[in-house]
């Protein structure tokens, strides 16, 4: 059973502003039956102000609560201010959501954006993106935005917030790439000293390879040796020594003291290096 806050439960049991505004000034529709949740938001806008908002939602308790809380937040709000609402704002209005349910708050923000874009007669930026997750139809533009807005650190978090990767899982590699790209674009500065403890294996491999290339291989090559990354399973990094290193009795010490220390400093503190 999910741990919902009292606010979530209260909104779910007594949802505000259910329904549809006739002749609405802005209509936003997101989600689908296949996805398991969908929201249709209708807005009445007068003199740059949202004077009424109603919703219809198909989905779980947190989807209904997010929709209800969103309408409460925006009624009486200037359009320019409503445009700055993030999914985090919706989640905090509910006293927080279980991490697996954060996508419900994202759905709320997307519906609001769609409704405001419709009001202004604009097309949505996400329509321009490239679909990364085919199962749930999530584009790179949406993913990059959520990664930077909510400061996400792992593929798992991307799935919790956008559903991307939650179906067949084939796009995980692409998600890891997007995550890496978005982070290195400097939209948010992620401190190097506090690497995420929830890195995916792909992220680990990528970072480990970088460190090997940058800090370890040059030294080994001077001695006619080399090192190859064989596998990463959980926190165990399997490597194999090559060239002159294979016959060197010091290679065990090299692996343990040098390679492991470097990888722990720069990738993840909990890594253990073993020779394959």
């Amino acid at each position: 059973m999910w741990e919902y806050t009292e606010t979530v439960t209260e909104h779910f049991q007594n949802p505000r502003n259910v329904g549809e505004i006739d002749n609405a000034d802005g209509v936003g529709e997101v989600g689908s039956l296949a996805c398991g949740d969908a929201l249709r938001l209708t807005l009445k806008i007068e003199d740059g102000k949202i004077v009424d908002a109603k919703f219809k939602t198909f989905g779980c308790a947190s989807a209904i609560a997010s929709s209800s809380a969103l309408t409460e937040m925006i009624i009486g709000m200037d359009v320019s201010k409503a445009e700055t609402i993030t999914n985090e704002d919706i989640a905090s209005a509910l006293g927080g959501l279980p991490k697996e349910k954060m996508h419900c708050s994202v759905m709320g923000r997307e519906a609001l954006e769609a409704a405001l874009a419709d009001f202004r007669g604009l097309s949505l930026p996400k329509a321009d993106g490239e679909v990364v997750c085919e199962c749930f139809g999530v584009t790179d533009v949406e993913i990059r935005r959520v990664v930077s807005e909510s400061n996400l650190h792992s593929v798992e978090e991307i799935t919790n917030f956008t559903k991307a990767g939650g179906g067949c899982g084939k796009c995980e590699e692409k998600l890891a790439e997007l995550l890496h790209k978005t982070q290195s674009d400097g939209l948010r500065v992620i401190p190097l000293k506090q690497p995420s403890k929830r890195m995916t294996t792909l992220q680990k491999i990528k970072k480990i390879e970088e460190v090997l290339d940058r800090e370890i291989r040059p030294g080994l090559r001077l001695d006619g040796g080399d090192i190859e990354l064989i596998d990463v399973e959980g926190d165990t990094v399997m490597v194999s020594m090559r060239g002159a290193c294979t016959s060197c009795f010091k290679s065990q010490t090299t692996i343990k003291e040098f390679v492991e220390r470097k990888l722990r400093e720069q990738v993840l503190e909990t890594l253990v290096v073993e020779e394959a």
Binding site: E29, L33, C60, A63
Partner: protein, 393 residues
């Protein structure tokens, strides 16, 4: 949860109440009778006799001999033991036949089998039709010379659909292939006798038939090659090491005896309650449909989809009346996709997300059924009012 109302428990395929008779039988083994059944003194020996008695009670329900009964910790352990044992007994065979609707205990093991065995296997996951049944011709074709094990559930936990495992076991036997069935949902609900069958391995779980959690049984047909999953002491004739969970073993024994006594009630009164619930909901709620074959089904299970609404929302509204059931929706599973069983049956998304499973037991009453029939239709109606997909009149 509402503390002022009684609990209406209709989630017995998830777990069951420990029967009062089972509690009473177990109690002495948490108290004075704490001896080790393997000990040489009679203080331990009397406990050993209780274990032997329980083994006999289990054997009677299953229609087998005592030495074919191995006590384990749960249904999952029984499943893993059976499948991995068969693979080790036939290391040169590298093919497994199972179905798409298995419980994760079998499905996830088969899908990741190379991790446990260290070498690759081909796994045939048999399809099911829209009623949850397997095509027997396709099954026959799937059996090959290098098939090491067939593992097919006796009854599906989500829909209650019963598969013809006795017939399938005969077909496997003709080709010299061991047959395992996960009978966790079937045992105690439908009568059978393993003595007359060609089933080699059968898993059952205590907590699905009014015994406590943490106890299971694996039936292994006499003469079937067997490799233990847990190695250590000589318990269970060296087939499952580890000091016996005596109290729970006594409990599952008593529970099997009770299940045999109540088999007629299960297939009579409980089935009638289930039918009343099912027919009542299907007739009073438009756009609702039954999932799974109507006839070949456990007497206690009804899986019904309410189109255009989502399962978690239904469950949480029912929770306000202390009505307990399950859903195959994505949101309740923690994954983002609806039940693999309903998807394998091709249930459309409009219906899969809004599926509710009611699973009854002998402890349910007609009054409880009436309460659900009264409370549920307005819940569905109010959620549909809120659904953007519900067609406006």
């Amino acid at each position: 949860m509402n503390n002022e109302m009684p609990v209406i428990y209709m989630d017995n395929n998830a777990t069951t109440m420990v029967a009062p008779e089972v509690m009473a039988a177990m109690e002495p083994y948490f108290g004075g009778l704490y001896g080790n059944p393997s000990s040489m003194h009679s203080f331990g020996g009397q406990v050993g006799k209780a274990v032997a008695n329980a083994r006999q009670q289990v054997a009677e329900l299953l229609g087998c001999d005592e030495d074919e009964v191995i006590f384990t910790s749960c249904g999952t352990e029984s499943d893993s033991t059976a499948i991995l044992s068969a693979l080790r007994a036939n290391p040169e065979r590298r093919h497994i036949v199972t179905s798409r609707i298995e419980h994760p205990a079998v499905k996830n093991l088969c899908e990741n089998i190379s991790i446990f065995t260290g070498h690759p296997y081909r796994v045939t996951m048999l399809k099911v039709d829209e009623e949850g049944l397997i095509d027997m011709d396709e099954y026959a074709e799937s059996l090959r010379d290098d098939t090491a094990i067939v593992s097919i559930m006796w009854a599906n936990n989500e829909t209650g659909v019963i598969l013809p495992v006795e017939e399938m076991a005969v077909m496997a036997r003709e080709r010299g292939i061991p047959f395992h069935t996960d009978a966790v949902q079937a045992v105690g609900k439908i009568p059978f006798s393993l003595r007359d069958s060609e089933i080699d391995f059968l898993s059952l779980s205590g907590h699905k038939l009014h015994a406590p959690k943490g106890i299971g049984v694996l039936y292994v047909k006499r003469g079937t090659p067997f490799a233990p999953f847990l190695t250590g002491g000589h318990q269970e004739d060296g087939r499952r090491a580890g000091t016996e969970n005596v109290a729970s073993i006594v409990g599952i024994g008593r529970a099997c005896q009770l299940a045999a006594d109540k088999m007629d009630e299960e297939n009579g009164r409980v089935k009638a309650l289930r039918d009343k619930l099912e027919n009542g909901l299907l007739s009073s709620i438009p756009r609702s449909l039954l999932n799974g074959n109507k006839e070949l089904r456990l007497p206690n299970t009804a899986n019904i989809s309410f189109e255009f609404v989502e399962g978690e929302s239904i469950l949480l509204h029912m929770d306000r009346y202390n009505i307990c059931a399950s859903s195959g929706s994505a949101c309740t599973s923690g994954s983002l996709e609806p039940s693999h069983v309903l998807r394998a049956m091709g249930v459309p998304f409009t219906a899969a997300h809004g599926s509710i499973r009611f699973s009854l037991s002998v402890y349910n009453t007609e009054e409880e059924i009436d309460t659900v029939l009264e409370k549920l239709p307005p819940i569905i109606a109010s959620l549909r009012e809120m659904s953007p997909f519900w067609p406006k009149k």
